[in-house]
């Protein structure tokens, strides 16, 4: 029943899509799932494996039903395989952006309490965000949607694959480990605005202490749960009251929920690692980790990953020592190092941030590419399924028209699960179709004497029992609330 937007205009998409004629749409709900050919083979590409095999010239990659089946020269493929000529092209794993807010509805922060471990990004995934399509066009195939950094213990994250068109539950990528956002420093202590009612804590020692307190509470809560009777005895025993916040924090202590903590400064990163150690677990990653290079050895020893952005610095007092050489030093010291976007625009050109890891500190280009693919996937516990071009991995690959770390290159095709979700030619077809459709609809609106926007706005405002706060702006700009929220968020919180 989908793909029926306009009986006049889109009737051609009603037909079952063929691989070569499949055309996406700028609305997710109106985008047909691209077909998954039984077999696809890329021929004679320069393959960046993101494995120990390195960069492989003149190599074929065979995909069977959504998985990478073989990598090597002159592969034999089924006769009905879709052949894609990769000569002169580079094939890389799909980019994994492990710090994103690009598809979250209704606010990226639950900024109220110092701990909001009970909130879940999973509940508010914006499958319709145009960011998904735009990031596919930049070669991104998986993004990790994180809660914001307004509180010491934020909400639970959701990792999604960019299956443009699918509803939220089908975007969720279960191979990634579940995780939760923490935050240290200026944001949780509310340094850069003046709240009418300040929230405890207002200092870094307070943030460290609040985290410790919450861990202890959760340990006690878990002990109560463990002590509660089960089976027949439970019928006559008042059970402990469920507390979803404590549930989540207890899962951290049990090692079921990974901590990904926003932090800039060396001191607080070190302190968080020590707190975790005292509760018997390890922090999974430090996000942004601007001063990671100052304590890289300690990070490597703890086993924490460093997920950083390479450029942003000096936007806060705690970011003055951020340097582009950070990934190079962390990587050299043995820290599992990745690059992330934290920004829906930057996410479209993550390959150039990897290139900057080469520029600043001379990281080997293949290693730099791993920082946005293999290592990024490893940090969210999905490295066994995505992030590398190797047998058995999901067929999430990107075909570039040149060196993938070159500014002069662009993405020609982006595949997720062996489906071609972005194709430069299909995109240009879509742009043409959209232009024509707009023309037709505008002509019709002019025929019907399009109403003044003031009236439209007034009538929405006057509608009781139905709140359309964002609709007007959304219609004007084509943006959805999550994007507006995020822009606002970036302006005020810069992370």
């Amino acid at each position: 029943m989908r793909y029926l937007l306009s009986s006049l205009l889109l009737s051609s998409t009603l037909a079952v899509a063929q691989t070569e004629t499949w055309t996406p749409d700028i609305e997710a709900w109106n985008s047909q799932k691209p077909p998954q050919p039984d077999a696809v083979v890329f021929r004679n590409a320069t393959v960046w494996s993101a494995t120990d095999k390195g960069i492989l010239d003149n190599t074929d990659v065979l995909i069977r039903r959504g998985e990478i089946a073989a990598v090597g020269p002159d592969l034999s493929a089924p006769s009905d395989a879709l052949e894609i000529d990769g000569s002169g092209h580079h094939l890389t794993p799909g980019i994994v952006d492990n710090h994103s807010h690009a598809a979250i509805l209704g606010g990226v922060n639950e900024a109220s309490r110092i701990s909001t471990a009970d909130v879940r990004i999973r509940d508010v995934i914006d499958s319709e965000s145009i960011n998904i399509y735009r990031q596919l066009a930049g070669g991104v195939t998986t993004i990790n949607l994180l809660h914001g950094s307004a509180n010491a213990i934020g909400g639970q994250m959701a990792t999604i694959k960019l299956r443009w068109g699918a509803p939220p539950d089908e975007l969720v990528f279960d191979e990634a480990r579940p995780g939760i956002k923490f935050a240290l420093g200026e944001n949780p202590k509310q340094s850069n605005w003046r709240p009418a009612e300040p929230r405890y804590p207002q200092t870094r020692p307070g943030v460290a202490q609040v985290i410790r307190e919450k861990f202890q509470q959760a340990a006690d809560y878990q002990a109560d749960l463990d002590d509660a009777p089960t089976g027949r005895a439970a019928r006559t025993q008042v059970p402990p009251r469920p507390n979803h916040e404590m549930d989540a924090i207890a899962r951290i202590l049990n090692g079921e929920l990974d901590v990904h903590s926003h932090a800039y400064r060396a001191d607080e990163i070190l302190a968080l690692m020590r707190t975790a150690e005292s509760f018997g677990f390890r922090i999974r990653t430090i996000q942004h980790v601007l001063e990671g290079y100052k304590i890289a050895s300690q990070m490597a020893k703890h086993g924490v990953g460093g997920s950083t952005f390479i450029d942003w610095w000096n936007f806060k007092a705690e970011a003055t020592d951020a340097i582009g050489y950070n990934p190079a030093i962390m990587h050299q010291a043995g820290v599992l190092t990745a690059l992330h976007s934290d920004n829906p625009e930057l996410a479209r050109r993550m390959n150039l941030d990897a290139a900057k890891a080469v520029r600043y500190g001379g990281v080997d280009p293949h290693e730099a590419l791993k920082m946005i693919t293999a290592y990024s996937a490893d940090q969210i516990g999905a490295g066994h399924a995505i992030g590398r071009i190797t047998e058995g991995h999901d067929a999430d690959v990107v075909l570039w028209d040149g060196h993938p770390l070159s500014a002069f290159s662009k993405v020609q095709q982006t595949w997720v699960d062996g489906r071609r979700y972005f194709d430069r030619q299909a995109d240009q077809r879509m742009q043409q179709a959209i232009a024509e459709e707009r023309q037709a609809l505008i002509a019709r609106a002019l025929d019907e004497g399009g109403s003044s926007s003031d009236e439209a706005q007034a009538s929405e405002e006057a509608t009781p029992g139905h709140q359309h706060t964002f609709n007007f702006a959304r219609h004007l700009t084509g943006y959805r609330p999550s994007e507006l929220d995020h822009d606002e968020y970036c302006v005020f919180h810069a992370n």
């Binding site: 290079y293 890289a296 007092a317 003055t320 020592d321 520029r359 280009p365 070159s406 995109d427």
Partner: protein, 433 residues
């Protein structure tokens, strides 16, 4: 003075020698220190690249560019085998020097309150020791157009070197433009309050200057002193370009219509990539563009994903002269060093690479009125240039040497580099994961 170039690496040395205007001759005067950069591939921008070539510099200026040039025997010779030489990037619109840490209000001077700020001159607040300047220089941004940012009439911008012992020394061109932010509300409202306010101030300024001229000619009383109205004189006389800011294609059109009715014919449009939709009009009217942010998200949901990336190509194909800028404000100021990559990404979307280079060197210099001093490697121009180990629009490329007005800049002193050198010793690691 033999070692001047190297003993005062971070500040301009040649400045001390320039007591008077001097002719630059192919064979430099005997008292001038001559530096020869040789064995590089030289990219003059104004002409095709020359392999195994020399650039001869003296007294802060380029003396000659070519192959097998005559050079004085005592010239300082720097061998740049395997390197490429380019004129420094000219950032066409930024607030470098006016901001340090954007979330700390005390360090930010980017946005004046009030609507009419015609008498502001930004150069007087440029902090020559800002940490952001060395970071930009390390990225090859050696000259920048510093713009004001508050209200409707925002004041005068300035073209500046990014290195110097004071803003005064850094100044290349004061009053490079008078900036007006065209009110978007005026697109479909003739009675727009903001536009009426601009018009009214301009009318008063015309009256003031008329009265002032009359007084000078002995035909009337001198009008009362008014700095703002007086400051609008160069704009009204066409001496200072009108730098007209607009963010949406229909606002740009309205802004240009308005500029026509006001009689402004020295106009530079400071515009978002949406400017591509009025490219032919700009070409016809010969109006240059400062293009803000190839790295902008498409303005509308239904705009193509590549809408911003391809804007430079569209302008180039239409015959518009343009300079590529970043977002000019906010977090992009600290990252002005990324300017060349914006041009690089435009190449990915069809812009000719040579034009992309021009759009961050020669064209901004020309649009800003300093094309006779900067933007290309030609005799007589300022010796503001850098060497790199690859194409400078590529992020993988490293910039290895920088000269500003002939003085070698010490890249190893840049803060990020200092921290890198310190901590990589501290955390050598065993091997990569």
């Amino acid at each position: 003075m033999m070692n001047t170039v190297f003993s005062m690496p971070t500040k301009r040395a040649a400045q001390q020698l320039m007591g008077a205007v001097m002719l630059i001759l192919p064979s430099a005067a005997a008292w001038a220190q001559v530096t020869v950069l040789q064995n590089a591939t030289v990219h003059p921008i104004s002409a095709p690249a020359i392999e195994q070539a020399q650039v001869v510099m003296a007294d802060g200026k380029i003396v000659d560019v070519g192959v097998d040039l005559d050079v004085p025997a005592d010239a300082t010779v720097i061998d740049l085998t395997g390197h490429h030489l380019y004129p420094g990037f000219v950032h066409p619109a930024t607030q470098l020097g006016l901001t340090e840490i954007s979330s700390v209000a005390g360090t930010v001077d980017t946005r004046e309150m009030g609507q009419i700020n015609a008498a502001l001159n930004v150069e007087v607040a440029v902090n020559h020791d800002s940490e952001l300047l060395p970071a930009s220089i390390a990225g090859g941004i050696l000259t920048a157009h510093i713009i004001p940012g508050g209200g409707l009439i925002q004041g005068h911008s300035a073209v500046m070197n990014l290195d110097g012992w004071s803003w005064e020394e850094m100044l290349i061109a004061s009053q490079a433009g008078q900036h007006i932010a065209f009110p978007p509300g005026a697109v479909d409202d003739e009675d727009n309050e903001d536009l009426s306010r601009i018009n009214s101030v301009l009318d008063q300024a015309r009256h003031w200057h008329q009265a002032d001229a009359a007084a000078s000619a002995g035909n009337g009383e001198r009008p009362p002193r008014n700095d703002q109205l007086q400051a609008l004189g160069p704009l009204l006389a066409g001496e200072t370009p009108l730098m007209l800011h607009a963010n949406r294609y229909d606002v740009m059109e309205a802004a240009l219509d308005w500029a026509d009715t006001q009689g402004f014919d020295n106009v530079v449009l400071v515009a978002t990539p949406d400017v591509q939709h009025i490219a032919s009009r700009l070409a016809d009217a010969d109006i240059p563009v400062i293009l803000k942010n190839v790295y902008a998200l498409p303005m509308r949901r239904h705009d193509g994903y590549d809408a911003s990336f391809k804007a430079p190509r569209v302008l180039a194909e239409a015959g518009v002269k343009f300079a590529i800028a970043d977002a000019t404000r906010g977090m992009d100021v600290a990252n002005a060093r990324n300017l060349p990559f914006q041009a690089g990404s435009a190449v990915a979307h069809g812009l000719d690479p040579d034009i992309a280079m021009k759009a961050v060197t020669l064209w901004p210099a020309e649009i800003l009125g300093v094309g006779d001093q900067l933007g290309s490697l030609e005799p007589g121009k300022r010796a503001t240039l850098f060497a790199a180990n690859g194409h400078p629009l590529e992020p993988m490329t490293q910039i290895t040497h920088v000269w500003i007005d002939g003085a070698r800049y010490a890249l190893s002193d840049v803060k990020a580099r200092r921290l890198y050198d310190r901590y990589r010793q501290r955390h050598p690691g065993d091997e990569s994961p």
